[in-house]
């Protein structure tokens, strides 16, 4: 199945009842799939007049307690930033998908990973975080959509799935889980009608009283601390004795894995560390993966963004080299292997 369609089908199976979006390459098949299937599954599909309208529709739907989602690609996600901040400030769960393309500006329509900073460090104004997942296969995109809706509800936060054009467009076999029948009860906070039988619920992000807002934000950060403690996830490949650990996520991790396998065949002790959560960044897991490492090579489809988190997580104990292609250019396994060999040569 195609990556974009798998994301959409998984959302429907996760109990998503409202999809609001605006078409943009390379995620359009996701919206197209929703247009065809959402109504048949008893939900609502609406093509909004803009990305800004779409994210605010998600805000409205999420306020009533239903599972809601929007998707876009890089320039469209920038437009959604305000709404995502409002949702974080209103403690609203929702899933936002970014099938990244090259930037800045309109950029290109080919795959990129240059929205890492945006997703993990600055997805809008104000003191807040969102959970960010980084799948690397069509199957993992399915699994992570199911998980994203659950975690959004559990912590009452927006959750982002940071994919890229290559993952969205590629075909791979997938197995779908059974559709969710029981969803979390949100009746203690959702604005879903009180029938005159209780106090009304307020969904709001405006607090004119500064100490009150401070208390709200501090409470939210206690939740973030729990997320940082419990929700990190990463894949370690051949890291046990690795002297050179390659760090990469998403599609570039697939490229890096091929390069690591090729390096092993040449007798180089290389390994791959692939974060599955980008925020929170899996620090413990990276320290475990680099126990025997002498060097790290970070590979991205950007000019180097995650590389900063890699340096922070390892507290600059290890030299971190970087190799990236950007603007929609995909690095090849051969290029990455050459970088690994360069480091291996230098270490001897």
């Amino acid at each position: 199945m195609k990556g974009n369609e798998a994301l959409a089908e998984a959302a429907i199976r996760a109990g998503c009842k409202c999809f609001f979006g605006y078409p943009i390459t390379p995620q359009t098949e996701l919206s197209a799939y929703m247009a065809k299937r959402m109504e048949k599954s008893g939900g609502v599909f609406l093509q909004a007049e803009s990305e800004i309208a779409a994210i605010n529709m998600v805000l409205g739907a999420a306020s009533t307690g239903v599972r809601a989602m929007t998707s876009s690609s890089s320039p469209g996600v920038s437009l959604k930033a305000e709404g995502i901040s409002y949702m974080a400030g209103s403690d609203l769960p929702a899933v936002i998908i970014n099938v990244q393309r090259g930037g800045p500006g309109l950029g290109s329509i080919q795959p990129a990973q240059s929205d890492y900073y945006q997703a993990t460090h600055a997805m809008g104004h104000g003191d807040f975080h969102i959970l960010v997942y980084a799948p690397c296969s069509v199957q993992e995109m399915v699994d992570v959509v199911m998980l994203a809706f659950d975690k959004a509800d559990q912590y009452r936060i927006p959750v982002m799935i940071l994919a890229d054009g290559l993952l969205g467009q590629m075909m791979e076999p997938v197995t779908f889980p059974e559709p969710r029948t029981e969803l979390p009860d949100k009746s203690d906070w959702a604005a879903c009608g009180h029938g005159g039988k209780r106090e009304h619920h307020v969904i709001n992000s405006l607090y004119l009283d500064a100490p009150l807002l401070e208390a709200k934000v501090q409470e939210r950060f206690k939740r973030y601390a729990v997320i940082e403690e419990t929700e990190t996830d990463a894949e370690l490949y051949c890291c046990g004795d690795a002297e050179i650990v390659v760090t990469a996520y998403g599609a570039s991790a697939r490229v890096a894995k091929s390069a690591v396998t090729a390096a092993r065949r040449k007798g180089i002790q290389a390994g791959l560390f692939r974060p599955k959560t980008l925020w929170p960044f899996p620090k413990k897991e990276l320290c475990e993966a680099t126990k025997h490492a002498k060097q790290i090579l970070d590979v991205e489809m950007s000019m180097g963004q995650m590389v900063d988190d890699v340096r922070l997580a390892t507290e600059c104990r290890l030299p971190v080299a970087f190799f990236g292609r950007t603007g929609g250019v995909i690095p090849t396994p051969e290029e990455v292997l050459a970088e690994i060999e360069k480091l291996a040569g230098g270490a001897e």
Binding site: L106, S108, I109, M170, T332
Partner: protein, 218 residues
């Protein structure tokens, strides 16, 4: 093969891979071949990605510049009507679904003037492709493509596969599916594709190489 072969199907059903294989086979037999990349809805995994392979085999590629610009505006920058009357074979790799076949409708009158015995329009199906798993679903989409393209298919190609997980059994299990689609569509089954390295014994098998794949698959 007839002079003109138009290839349609679901997104990711394997249209491009089939087009590349057909073109190479003809070119290697010494025929003059032009491949038209008529996918104007999706900039990924297109026949235009095989420009250098085509050049090495003397195949002419007609493709719009869509994938190389930053504008999300599809455009056709070549003259397909003229190409249809030029010497040699013409393979038209159409975009996925009915959305991808809309542009074809603009050429329907020109192709209608063409000798029917020299034009084929094949519908590519994959039994393992979500949303076309049931023959009825595949037929619905086929009808939608015919509506927007204002043209009729002349054959079915069974391209059932599970990507890199495909085995000989995967292919054999999908043979009845191809036959059912063909029967219900009242169209002949052109053949069933299988990867060359799999030993599959089929009476109308079409051996293919896999050219369309991500960079990390060698």
């Amino acid at each position: 093969m007839k002079k003109i072969t138009i290839i349609t199907g679901h997104y990711g059903s394997g249209k491009t891979n089939l087009s590349v294989n057909l073109a190479l086979k003809l070119a290697d037999a010494g025929e003059k071949v032009t491949v038209v990349d008529f996918d104007i809805v999706n900039p990924y995994f297109r026949t235009a990605d095989f420009r250098s392979l085509f050049e090495a085999h003397g195949i002419t590629l007609a493709a719009s510049m869509y994938a190389n610009t930053s504008l999300d505006i599809p455009a056709i920058s070549f003259d397909m009507e003229r190409m249809a009357y030029e010497e040699g074979y013409l393979i038209v790799d159409v975009g996925g679904d009915d959305a991808g076949a809309i542009g074809l409708g603009r050429y329907a009158p020109a192709f209608a003037d063409y000798m029917p015995d020299q034009l084929d329009m094949w519908y590519v199906v994959n039994r393992y492709r979500y949303l076309t798993e049931a023959p009825e679903e595949a037929l619905t989409l086929m009808g939608e493509i015919e509506t927007v393209s204002r043209m009729r298919h002349t054959g079915i190609v069974n391209n059932s596969n599970l990507g890199s997980e495909t085995t000989a059994q995967t292919i054999l299990d999908a043979v009845p599916y191809g036959e059912t689609v063909s029967r219900q569509a009242h169209l002949p089954l052109v053949g069933t594709t299988y990867r060359k390295d799999l030993s599959v014994d089929l009476k109308d098998g079409i051996p293919v190489e896999v050219y369309v794949k991500p960079v990390w698959e060698s």
